[in-house]
Amino acid sequence: MTTSTGHQGVPYEEITEDAYSDAFAHGARAIPTRRGVLLDGGCPRCAGQMSYPLVDKVFRSPLPPGAQVPATNSKVVAILCTCPEDHPARPDGERGCGAYWNITLSATT
């Protein structure tokens, strides 16, 4: 199903493809915020418009076991689809369509 905004309501699936990184990097913006960077762009799988907040620090919180928090000065950052649209078969507590990919984030100034 394709909405008027171009979003495709594909079923939720935790999936990655080599082309995702390039597709996201092509149209995405990195917006500096007071806490890090906000990555704004379209999901390369479902085309949903999404924002992915990268922060260096979070308020004291028990992390899930084994979880890693990528720092904003990392060259390679893993992100996933966080589009707010509906996707069939999406488990409770999950966001987006399930797609994930890596990008390279580099400071220019």
Binding site: Y20, R29, L38, P53, F59, L63, Q68, R95, N102, T104
Partner: protein, 218 residues
């Protein structure tokens, strides 16, 4: 502000990358609520601590700053004023962290229409502001407690103000100012900064109580 560029990653994502990306999102979920809850706990705990400190200060010891010698009375007064200011700001910051700013905010200030998810950015900013307010409020509350303890300790253990002084003026023009005491034999003695002399009442013209001895009279 640092600008960033997004380019293709050199390697494809793995399941480990996905877990890291998911963690980055999950730990930010409910972050503002965690800050608010922590601020309420700190507010209650520090309020009880400061109330206990004030109550403890009234239990024993000197309670009147006016009984202190100068300049300790002024020091205690200044310290108490600083404690009041620190405590006031601390209370304000902790309440701000726990409940937010008591003011209406324009939607244009909150909703950044240039991003795909304005709510995320607004929540991030409010979380950061509340988080900073909590940290500063806690530090100021401890500063307030330290100043209160200092003021109470100085009030208790500071040197007492001298009692009333006596100024005696003799017929020959001599003036002495100090305290009147009696020696071991019961004779009256005049203690002055220059020394202790017997008090001969026969030649005194005037004898009056003064709060402090005038400079030069001894």
């Amino acid at each position: 502000m640092t600008q960033y560029q997004i380019t293709r990653a050199p390697q494809a994502a793995t399941a480990v990358d996905r877990r890291a990306a998911r963690a980055q999102i999950r730990i930010q979920d409910g972050e503002l609520n965690r800050v608010r809850a922590a601020a309420i706990s700190w507010r209650n705990g520090l309020g009880a601590l400061l109330a206990g400190l004030i109550g403890f200060g009234l239990i024993k010891g000197r309670t009147d700053v006016g009984q202190l010698a100068s300049p300790y009375d002024a020091i205690v007064g200044g310290t108490l004023a600083a404690a009041l200011v620190a405590g006031g700001f601390s209370a304000w910051l902790l309440m701000r962290a726990a409940h937010g700013r008591p003011a209406a905010v324009s939607t244009a200030e909150l909703v950044d229409r240039s991003t795909n998810d304005p709510e995320t950015r607004a929540l991030q900013d409010e979380t950061l502001d509340s988080w900073l307010a909590l940290r500063r409020g806690v530090l100021l509350a401890f500063g307030c407690g330290f100043l209160l303890c200092s003021a109470v300790a100085t009030t208790w253990y500071g040197p007492p103000k001298d009692g009333p002084q006596v100024e005696a003026r003799w017929r020959n023009g001599a003036v002495l100012c100090g305290t009147v005491e009696s020696d071991a034999s019961g004779a009256l003695m005049f203690r002055t900064p220059a020394g202790t002399v017997p008090l001969d009442l026969t030649g005194i013209v005037t004898l009056r109580a003064v709060d402090t001895c005038p400079t030069g009279a001894s």
